[in-house]
Structures are given as C-alpha cells and as structure tokens.
C-alpha cells in the first residue's frame, strides 16, 4: 500500500464521524466528581466521560465557581466557556455537603460508584465523614482520587491555598524560565515584557487532570485483578513540573539553573522560533542530517561548511547558539512563512538529503487553527448540537481509535439540571422527596 492508500485505510477505520457507531471503553463506570473551582478535576472527568463513563458532577446549590471563570466574563446562554466545554457528557447535580443529610446521600452514592474525585483541602472530606477510610468501609472497591495544590501528605499539605492555574505555573519551575531575555544594560522599565511568562490557557492545571485520569484507569485495571479500590493523590504543581525534560538533571549535574532563553532552546539545536518576512516560524532540526538539510535548503551548504559537520554537540554551547541564530534568522527573514513551509516540503522530496528535511511550521493564531481545513477535516471542531446550548464549537476527537473512540455527546448543563434523574436512579428519590430536599437546602 502507498502512503495515501494507508491513510485511506486508517481513515476508514477511525474517522470520528463513525465514533457514535462504536463501543465505549468506560460505559460501565460511575464517577462522582466533587471537584470545585478546579480545571484539573473537570478536565480529568471529561477525559473519562469522553470514554463513556457516567460522570456525575456534584456542585453546591450555588453552582461550581468554575462556571464563572470565563474570558472577560463572557457567557454563552448563561454559561461560562470553560465549564461549557468541560461539562461534556456529564450529569450535573447539586448537593450541599455542609449538611449532614447531604453527606449521607453522598455516601449512599459512593457505595454504588467506582470512582470519586475531589479537590477539597486535605482533611475536609474526612471531617465530613466521607473521606477515603470512611467510604472504603462502605465500598472497598472505590477509587478515591484527590487533586490538590500540595497533595495529601508532606510538610506543605496543610497549607490551605486555592489552586489557580497561574499559581500552579509559577510554583512548578516552568514559568520562571519561559520568556524573553532582558539584555544587559536594559531594565524592566525599558522592556516590561522581558519577564518570566506563563504559557497557554490553563496548561498548569491540565496535566494533573490527565495524570489523574491515567492513575484512575491504572487503578481500575488493578481493581479488576485484585478486587481492591485505593486512594490516589496528585499535587497539581508536581504534575506540571514533571513535564520538565532536562532542567532538573542539568541543575543536579552542573548546578546551572535554567533561566529564560527567549525563543531559542537551552537543550536543543536547531530548535527555535525564527522571524520571517511576514511573521515567524518554528524551526526544528535536532538530528545532524536535518540541520545540514536546513543549511542546504537556504543555500548555505558550502558557505556554512555543512558537509564537514560531524555532530550536533559543538552547536549547543550558548555562544554558538547565539552566533548561529543570527545567521539562521538572516536567512529566514528573506522568506514568508508559507514559502519556508513549501521549501521544506519540497526539500523532503527533491533535496540532496531527502527524505530528511527540517521541521518548519508557521506560528499561527488560534483563529488560523480553528479555520484550518486540516483540523476540521479530522473532526476536531465538529460542532456539538446540544439540546440546551445549541450548536457549540469545542475541541474534540483528540485521539482517533478504531474500537472505542472518544466522543462528545452533549456539552454541559445548568446548575441542578440532572437532580431529578440522578437522585431517582441512584437513591430512588422521586419528585416529592426532591422538593423536600430543595426546601431544606440540601440539593
């Protein structure tokens, strides 16, 4: 088979358009999500809900504060945009855990659940009588997952501090070394943007959610073997910090602390953002042959002596990186983004070192991404036609799978929307009982 017939074969197997005809990997699993003001928690249970788990999001009667965490305060049909996307496939109920009867209801549901996820300060659930040890007595198969700023144990675990994404990023050692360099002789008053800079929307919090989803599924696997549930503990800043591939080893080996290096890369060459005639591109050529291919592609094979290069290490020193960056940028500035991308695609077919070629990618806006036909063709932004919120565009289908693909069936629900169904299903509470609970402020 040729590459394009291979592509057609895979598409025939895993196109997300067919996802709804496939089975769901977790459709026998019930998850109680007690997370509050936690993107990590919500993202974690979204990942499980995309695989078909019945996730019951339990909020206080006033709703999760996360519903109000939305850019510039913008709402869509009354809903904040983060909660709208991470409420996907979940049932949304209210329960006032300050009240004893509510805690009894929670325990009764936990007795029937597979997973409970919570993000309260350590000790809170215990004090309410619904901590891991207490619920384990009721349901030894329960997987009890906690996501907090500092974790369940260790000297800082008693610090009661809210877990915001920007705090996670600052605490993780990553924010510190990302950003523009302040040149010698300049001050922050001259260049107020040359400071440690955090990344992306909530990338500090998301790793804890994804790690915990992995931990929960590993625990489910173990439970299938042993019959036992267990407690899981994730500290958000540890999860994000653990994505560091080199700075911690560099520090241990040499005592060097990673500092900001702009859009170059302390650990990799050629690996940077480079200016172009109409913007900037990413350049990647970590293998010697790719770096030679780059030199060749911009017509510098002889001038730079690329044929004589033997290994990458000599290019790695700070001064060498800075010197070569100047030479490289002088070349990239001659072209537009699209010209450079086309040059690398062409080089991979016709170049002296083909199929080896440098990696070149335009630096685009998220609007470019949203409109890019490639991602739309791959089902990333197919709108979800939600009965409450109408058609909503959100990111989905992040992995394609042949047997149990993830899918987004609905987005979120207003506060307390699913009380009737969920409390009937799990506790046999009908409308009369539900009214009583509402009147006494329990739901």
């Amino acid at each position: 088979m040729g590459t394009s017939s291979m592509a057609a074969w895979y598409r025939g197997q895993d196109d997300p358009q067919k996802a709804h005809t496939r089975l769901e990997a977790l459709d026998d699993i019930t998850v109680l999500d007690l997370s509050y003001n936690s993107y990590a928690g919500s993202f974690c249970t979204s990942l499980l809900a995309e695989f078909g788990a019945e996730v019951i999001k339990i909020e206080p009667p006033g709703g999760d504060f996360l519903r109000t965490c939305t850019p510039y305060g913008i709402l869509h049909k009354g809903e904040g945009l983060n909660y709208l996307t991470e409420g996907r496939n979940k049932f949304h109920v209210t329960l006032n855990l300050e009240k004893e009867e509510a805690r009894k209801m929670l325990a009764d549901m936990a007795a029937q659940a597979d997973v409970l996820l919570e993000t309260f300060h350590p000790g809170t659930m215990d004090a309410w009588g619904i901590g891991y040890e207490q619920l384990k007595a009721v349901n030894p198969r329960l997987i009890f997952a906690s996501i907090t700023p500092f974790g369940q144990f260790g000297p800082k675990s008693n610090i009661r501090m809210t877990d915001y994404d920007n705090i996670i990023q600052a605490r993780s050692g990553i924010h510190y070394a990302t950003g523009e360099v302040l040149p010698e002789g300049k001050t922050l008053d001259d260049m107020p943007w040359a400071v440690p800079t955090k990344s992306g929307p909530w990338i500090g919090a998301a790793p804890a959610g994804a790690f915990m989803a992995s931990g929960i599924m590993a625990a489910l696997y173990w439970r299938d073997i042993s019959g036992e549930g267990q407690a899981l503990d994730c500290a958000t800043s540890e999860a994000y910090a653990s994505f560091d591939d080199w700075a911690y080893q560099w520090y241990q080996e040499t005592g060097n602390v990673a500092e900001r290096f702009g859009n170059l890369d302390i650990a990799g060459w050629l690996y940077c953002f480079a200016p172009t005639r109409d913007g900037a591109v990413f350049l990647g050529a970590l293998r010697l042959e790719q770096w030679q291919a780059f030199a060749d592609m911009v017509g510098k094979w002889d001038a730079w002596g690329a044929a004589q290069w033997k290994e990458m290490a000599p290019f790695m020193a700070k001064a060498e990186q800075e010197k070569w960056a100047g030479l490289v940028f002088a070349e990239t500035q001659k072209y537009t983004n699209q010209e450079l991308v086309a040059m690398s695609v062409d080089y991979s077919k016709n170049g002296r070192l083909a199929p080896i070629a440098p990696v070149i990618a335009p630096i685009g806006t998220p609007m470019d991404t949203l409109k890019d036909a490639n991602w739309n063709d791959r089902g990333l932004f197919t709108p979800v036609d939600d009965p409450v919120y109408g058609p909503v565009v959100l990111a989905q289908a992040q992995y394609k799978m042949t047997e149990t693909p993830p899918r987004t069936k609905w987005v979120c629900r207003p506060v307390g929307y699913d009380n009737g169904f969920v409390y009937l299903k799990y506790l046999s509470y009908g409308p009369r009982k539900l009214r009583e609970l509402e009147e006494s402020g329990i739901v």
């Binding site: 924010h175 267990q230 290490a313 791959r378 047997e403």
Partner: protein
C-alpha cells in the same frame, strides 16, 4: 484519616505491587512525544522494551543543555526513558523486523512515532501486519498530524515546537503586542504523550472486557488543541481571535504575575470570594471587595475592571518582596507564590518527602533525583527504579529471556546487522567510568566489547 492512608507511603513503596504489573509494551519511539508515553506506563509497572536503531539510537540523546551531558548521557534524554529494557534493533533489516514481530506477538501494547507509513511500508510491522499475529494488540501511533488528512498525507515532519506554533498555543503564550513565545517545556510532546496513555489505558480496559485490541492515532497538535478549552467556543461565538494576555489569566480575576521591590516576581490568584476579600484586606483596601464593580467575579472579569484592579495590585506588590507577599497570602487567605526556579523544585523538602523527587540509585549512572509519576497510589505506588542505558544494552537479556534465543542465534543477528550496540561516542555509550558490568542483567553481556555491532 488521610494521614492514616498515606502514613509511611514512601517507606512502603517497595513492598507494594505496581498497578500495571504484567503488562508488556514494545516501543519503537524517538525524541520525547514517543518515548515519554511508555515511560509513564513503565513507572506504573509495565515492562517496556525500547527498540532503538543502532548505533546512534534515539535523537533525544542529542539534547544537551549548552553542551552539558548528564553522566555522559543526553541530559534531555533521561527523563522520558525510565525503567525500560534496551534493545538495539535495526528495523531496516528483515531479521530485525522478525524479532520485532516475535516481541509484538507477546506484547499488550506497541507504540511508535515515525512518520505515517514508515512502520507499515518500510518496516513491515504496522498495525495491519501486527494485528494478524496478535489480534489483541493495542497499537498507538503518535506524530504531528495523525495518519490521514492533508498534513499527514504531505508527510510533514513535526516537533513539539511545531505543535506549539500550529495550535495557536505559542500565540496565546506571549506578552500583548510582543512576538509569540515558545515554552521552555516540550509541552506538546509531554502533554500529547500523556493523553496517548489515557487512550491506551482506556483501550486496555476495553480489551479486558472484550478481548479486542485496537489502533489509536494521536496527533500532538490535536492533543494541545484539546486542552485550550475556552479558546474555541470563544472564537466561534465572538468571531474574534483569542488574544495573548501575558501572565494575566483572562478567565480568573485577579490572577497575574507581579514585579516585586527586588525585581523578582510573585504570582497572585484571588478570585474566590474569600480569597478576593483576603487580598483586599491585605492591601489595606477592604472596600474593594464590596465595590459593585468588583464584588462579583463575572463583573470583575470585564477587561477594563480587571486592568484597573491589576494596576492597584501591581503598585502594592512593587513595594514588597515575594516572600512578604507569600506570608501575607497565608495570613489573609489568598493564593500567592514567588515564581520558583527548577532549583526550588529539586531541593524542596516537601517534594522529597512525598517521593515526587524520587531518589534513584542507578547501577550505571549513580544516584540522583528523578521526577516520580505524579499520582501517588495508596495500594499500587508508581515507582522510578532505573534510568537510561546505552543502545542495545539489554539485547542479550531480552533475546534470551523473552524469545529463548541461544548464543549462536544471537550472534547471527549481530552478524547480519539486525542487532547492534552503541556507537563509541558520548551520549551513546555508557559513562566513561563505567566498569563494564554495572547495570548488566545477563552477566555474559559484560564480556562483549563496547561498540560491538557498530
């Protein structure tokens, strides 16, 4: 109660099983996106056999910050490759492909991150081929653009930085009016690798229930797109491009990083009603918490109001040190931390007592601290046990113990070049002071000269 659950967790790790005990993973991966995924599974107890093409192996062996190696290894290579077994297997050779197929027949999971079509057409060990010999196989392919669609079919290569660029992630991760910034993390590699394992673990559960394996296709760009939550409905609803805001969180107010008296930095978050009131009291401005413009979070998030608030906070912080703000945060009840460096993490006693900074006593590299899988599991703790090895370091162990090959068969694989070991160069070979035996699983391995098969 939580104390009872977690008491002596670190001390008891070694007497508890790992959750994925018995799961076998075969890896044909390079750089970070590929290898990081199996490394997560290896810390959860899976047995991972990593196949590198001899004698140079994994490209991320080239990751050396400003030219500094870590005990003669690629400094940036170590993290994504814990607890693995090391094969030097040349998949260009039919004999190498046959060994791969034999290992795949025993495996639960195969992971690769070559460009589309390479495993299928050049190496003959793609999913369509392996499912014939192992129908239960879970096969994960990872790369920039997936297996189909325009970019995949143009055969474009990718890197983490390309994903940061392509997704609009870098655009959003910058200071207003300034150029897009690259994270100092290989964030799309690591995050993509982690999401890949979420899918693998779901597939594993499906296989337990039904006996069926499956194919999983992962694009690192699609992975990072997935977590840029609000950005997509925001752009769809407003028709406007999501704009960078520096350290300010557009969804949380107030939340930003501020310059202190000593030109160091502190991050503050104070959006929950109690946190906001606490911050206002700490600033000596308790009335702000009652101000109708700021009282309600949704109102406060309005661009002009947040900017006004951030201006007030930044003037207040400018007179303080990060430590003073941290102290006030504890005292008054809001969230703050100085912007910590990697040194602060590595040396943090809290991280060590939790075993997040895990002490590894590696037979080949010596002792050091490694990041543990960051989910502590009370009954089945993840464990970092050993670190990277030279290319082909465990060839003899794997071929003897897993495939029952004898000495002559192994030799013939070396002779035809299907099997090989490391090039005699730094970052490919063991450390210069290696004694020729430490870390070797099969003793006779030590008798083979370094560089064999080069």
């Amino acid at each position: 109660m939580a104390e009872a659950t977690w008491r002596n967790y670190l001390e008891n790790k070694h007497n508890r099983p790992a959750p994925l005990k018995g799961i076998k993973v075969l890896e044909a991966c390079t750089i970070i996106l590929g290898p990081a995924g199996p490394s997560f599974l290896a810390k959860l107890g899976a047995e991972v056999i990593k196949c590198e093409i001899p004698p140079l192996g994994d490209t991320s062996r080239n990751l050396i910050p400003f030219g500094d190696y870590f005990r003669d290894q690629g400094t940036g290579f170590v993290h994504a490759n814990q607890n693995k077994y090391w094969m030097g297997l040349d998949l260009h050779k039919p004999e190498g492909q046959e060994i791969f197929r034999q290992l795949a027949a025993q495996a639960d999971i195969v992971e690769e991150n070559m460009r589309p079509g390479v495993l299928e057409k050049r190496f003959n060990v793609g999913y369509p081929q392996l499912k014939e010999i192992n129908p239960g196989i879970i096969y994960l392919s990872k790369n920039g653009f997936g297996q189909w669609g325009r970019y995949a079919e143009e055969n474009r290569p990718s890197n983490d930085g390309a994903s940061q660029a392509f997704a609009g992630f870098a655009w959003l991760s910058s200071q207003p009016g300034q150029r897009p910034l690259k994270s100092r993390l290989y964030i799309c590699d690591n995050f993509g690798a982690l999401l890949g394992e979420v899918a693998v673990l779901a597939a594993l559960r499906h296989r337990q229930r039904t006996g069926k394996g499956q194919y999983i296709e992962l694009s690192q760009t699609e992975s990072i797109i997935r977590m840029m939550s609000w950005v997509w409905p925001y752009q769809d609803i407003t028709g406007e491009t999501a704009m960078p805001a520096g350290n300010r969180d557009l969804c949380v107010s107030p939340a930003d990083t501020f310059r202190c008296r000593d030109d160091r930095f502190v991050a503050i978050g104070a959006a929950l009603p109690d946190d906001f009131a606490g911050l206002c009291r700490a600033m000596g401005r308790p009335e702000l918490a009652r101000d109708p413009r700021f009282r309600n979070h949704l109102d406060r998030l309005r661009d002009d109001r947040t900017l006004e608030l951030l201006d007030i906070i930044s003037k207040w912080v400018r007179e303080k040190t990060p430590e003073e703000v941290e102290q006030l945060a504890v005292e008054y009840g809001f969230a703050a931390t100085r912007v910590r460096s990697v040194q602060d993490i590595v040396e943090d006693p809290h991280c060590r007592e939790r075993g997040f900074m895990a002490y590894v006593d590696d037979p080949m590299l010596g002792p050091f601290y490694e990041y543990e899988f960051p989910v502590m599991m009370s009954k089945t703790p993840p464990k970092v046990r050993w670190s990277v090895r030279a290319i082909g370091f465990d060839n003899e162990y794997v071929l003897t113990h897993k495939l029952g090959k004898n000495k002559a068969q192994i030799q013939s694989l070396y002779d035809c070049g299907a099997l090989g070991k490391w090039a005699d160069m730094i970052s490919r070979r063991p450390p210069a002071d290696w004694d020729g035996a430490s870390g070797v699983i099969l003793a006779r391995d030590a008798a083979l000269p370094a560089g064999k098969g080069e």
